[in-house]
């Protein structure tokens, strides 16, 4: 057993190096962060962790221009005597059981005050179950599967907008298109058949039905297939007014290439984040996807704005712009930190109560939510998203009008 202890302490050390150790002042507040850092989603996980590390730096050290954020002053957690935040990062490899094991370790070994995670909804489900058993708050920053907050957990909170929020956004958007005289009531859904695609497409289906939009093609496919020609041909035959893709990167790229090689230029393409938000997607097929619409709660915004400054910090760390997913995880982390500060203690119960009382206004957030306020189930009722469009291989917000940087370009341009 000795060896375990050694390894464990070694791990603690390696983790502690992530934040410069504080020689003085109040004891650090540990927050557990678990994401897939290896395996298929390793990329997304790494960038989410980077975003959270940036957030921790913002809270721990002063950064000019970010004061408008809660804790943006950069003096740690004032109500805890300026205690600094220390991140303990763990790789759950996208495996539900590993997610549970790592969460358990962070809670029992590292004695973290709260948890943030976990990218895959499957992992969020098992990890939050452990947090529930041990009574430690777990903030889900990105998982969209409905059942994460449908289990009556008292210790699970979710800041991100969920499928229903996006679905509403899409349908309202299409509705406005119709008013503007564009066709918009024949929709096709193309979704990868894991928890992400299934839950999002399911909600879109419901809401479309409610709003009398009819779905002319409803295509589930298994991710990372070698060929998507058959799907594209199906779409080509059905000629929908708009296609909603719920796809991971590899498939998103393949779809764009196949659209071109089979010479099918849809009226309108809506990509549901994920693959369409991956910088690799823009690098690979940016020119083919010109005019593709995507949802996001994140936009870099004007120079010197808070979001712009945050993006600069992120870019300095990773060399690329921050994407929506990482942004939502960063926001989740800010919410947790703010709650801990309000609680003025690291007692789980205190933090839980603080979280339940959370009421952040839109202008206190770095994401484009209408605010953060949790319902009894722990879901953020003020979460929302806006739509962005790929113009000259750059995403700019185009909907709702209030948040639009540029007007909508219609129809989908695609390749030259």
């Amino acid at each position: 057993m000795k060896i375990f202890k050694k390894l464990a302490t070694a791990a603690a050390l390696s983790a502690s190096l992530l934040v410069a150790p504080q020689a003085y002042a109040a004891p650090d507040v540990k927050i557990g962060v678990t994401f897939p850092l290896s395996g298929n989603s390793g990329n997304a996980g790494k960038s989410a962790v980077a975003a959270i590390e940036v957030a921790a730096e913002i809270i721990n050290k002063p950064h000019p221009g970010l004061e408008s954020l809660p804790l943006g002053a950069g003096v740690g957690l004032p109500n805890l005597g300026g205690a600094k935040i220390k991140l303990v990062i763990a790789d759950h490899q996208g495996s539900p059981s590993e997610g549970q094991a790592q969460t358990l370790r962070l809670i029992t070994q590292e004695k973290v005050a709260g948890m943030v995670g976990a990218y895959q909804s499957a992992v969020a489900l098992t990890a939050t179950a452990i947090a529930e058993r041990y009574g430690v708050p777990f903030i889900v920053g990105d998982g969209v599967a409905a059942n994460i907050t449908e289990r009556g957990f008292k210790w699970t909170f979710r800041t991100t907008p969920i499928a229903s929020d996006f679905a509403n956004a899409y349908m309202e958007f299409l509705g406005e298109l119709k008013k503007a005289g564009h066709p918009g009531d024949k929709v096709a859904i193309v979704f990868e058949n894991t928890d992400y695609g299934v839950s999002v497409s399911g909600t879109i289906r419901e809401i479309a039905k409610k709003r009398g939009v009819n779905i002319v093609a409803d295509i589930a496919y298994s991710a990372n297939g070698a060929d998507v020609s058959a799907q594209v041909l199906q779409l080509k035959e059905k000629k929908p007014d708009a296609i909603i893709f719920i796809s991971y990167t590899s498939d998103a790229i393949l779809y764009m290439k196949t659209l071109k090689s089979l010479d099918y230029r849809p009226q309108l393409i809506i990509g549901d984040n994920s693959g369409f938000s991956d910088p690799a997607f823009i690098k690979a097929v940016g020119e083919l996807a010109e005019g593709a619409i995507n949802r996001s709660a994140w936009s870099i915004g004007a120079k010197d704005s808070v979001t712009w400054r945050i993006n600069e910090l992120f870019k300095a760390k990773t060399g690329q712009d921050m994407d929506d997913t990482s942004g939502r995880d960063m926001q989740a982390f800010f919410v947790l930190a703010e709650a801990i500060n309000r609680a003025g203690s690291t007692k789980p119960e205190a933090i839980q109560t603080a979280l339940q009382k959370t009421d952040l206004k839109a202008n206190q957030l770095m994401m484009g939510y209408n605010g953060v306020k949790f319902d009894a189930k722990g879901q953020n009722v003020l979460a929302s998203a806006y739509l962005i469009q790929l113009i000259n291989s750059q995403y700019v917000s185009i909907w709702p009008a209030t948040a639009a940087e540029k007007p909508l370009v219609y129809p989908f341009k695609g390749w030259k």
Binding site: S38, G39, N40, S41, G42, N43, K46, N193, I219, A220, Y221, S222, N224, G225, A226, D227, V228, S229, A230, Q231, L233, Q234, K236, E237, T249, S250, I253, L254, M256, K257, T258, K260, S261, L262, D263, D278, P279, A280, F281, K283, A284, V285, L288
Partner: protein, 285 residues
């Protein structure tokens, strides 16, 4: 018309399957070793091509060649360092060794190249050909032709050349071959090299239309087993035929029943073949 297009699409991807299965069936048939890492070989072929293109500005032909050479070397090394010894051990050891190889290759690539998807420029092989309203995606068309060429080439190599007959002799009866003065280890090393080389070329051509990542072998790997089993272990023409049939089944089932059923159909076929005709379409009894 649409049906025609669906069939063509199926045949094209089928040709690609045939391309990356031909190498697998070679070693499987030759020495009855299943190389679970074949998908990883293809993945490495893709990366070699990508880097040869980005750093050395190689064209398609030259980076395909580069991939072939690199993977030939890897194949030989794997044989010498691992398979040569494991082959004579229990079957468990054979299966384990290539599984280990999968993990090492996949995650070394992951570690070296990162988890970001990279791609070759999508128009590297030009736009689709329009043949009487039927669109043929250029990369897959090329892949198809090369697959055909390799299949024929490998078949001729095995049946018409000295080297081929020696390889087959070793496959038939190691000891007898040795008495005839053939060096079994050399022959089998070459067989592994060839298998690697074809995987390399497959990777290079797939890279022209498929996004490259360290885990791509996972998705491409399993289909190769279906193709090989279906075609008959060791039968290169069998792999070709099987590849085309499977591509066709996938395409048609995806179009008429929906993509999620294509795997169901393919694996159902796989199971069926194993039970009803274990030796596959063209396998030796």
């Amino acid at each position: 018309m649409v049906l025609m297009q669906v069939i063509v699409a199926g045949l094209l991807i089928g040709a690609v399957y045939a391309l990356f299965s031909s190498g697998l069936t070679l070693v499987w048939g030759m020495m009855n070793v299943i190389n679970f890492a074949h998908g990883e070989f293809v993945m490495l072929g893709m990366y070699v091509s990508f880097w040869a293109f980005t750093l050395l500005h190689f064209g398609v032909a030259s980076f395909s060649l580069a991939a072939a050479v690199m993977l030939f070397i890897l194949g030989v090394l794997v044989y010498i360092c691992l398979i040569k010894r494991v082959m004579r051990g229990p079957m468990l050891a054979q299966i384990l060794s290539t599984f280990g190889l999968v993990l090492v290759l996949r995650y070394s690539a992951f570690w070296a190249f990162g988890s970001t998807f990279v791609s070759l420029p999508e128009d590297i092989l030009g736009p689709s050909l329009n043949v009487g309203g039927i669109l043929l995606s250029a990369p897959k068309l090329v892949a198809g032709c090369v697959a055909l060429a390799i299949t024929i080439g490998m078949h001729l190599l095995l049946t018409r050349t000295m080297l081929g007959s020696q390889i087959l002799a070793v496959a038939e009866n190691r000891n007898a071959a040795m008495l005839m003065g053939i060096r079994p280890d050399r022959m089998q090393a070459i067989a592994w090299g060839l298998s690697g080389a074809s995987a390399g070329i497959a990777g290079a051509l797939i890279a022209t239309f498929f996004p490259i990542s360290a885990t791509v072998g996972e998705s491409l790997g399993l289909i190769a087993f279906v193709v090989v089993t279906f075609g008959g272990f060791g039968s290169v023409p069998g792999a070709m035929l099987a590849g085309l049939i499977i591509g066709l089944i996938e395409s048609l089932s995806a179009f008429y029943f929906g993509p999620i059923y294509q795997d169901v159909f393919v694996y159902a076929l796989f199971v069926l073949v194993l039970w009803i005709r274990p030796r596959g379409l063209m396998g030796k009894a």
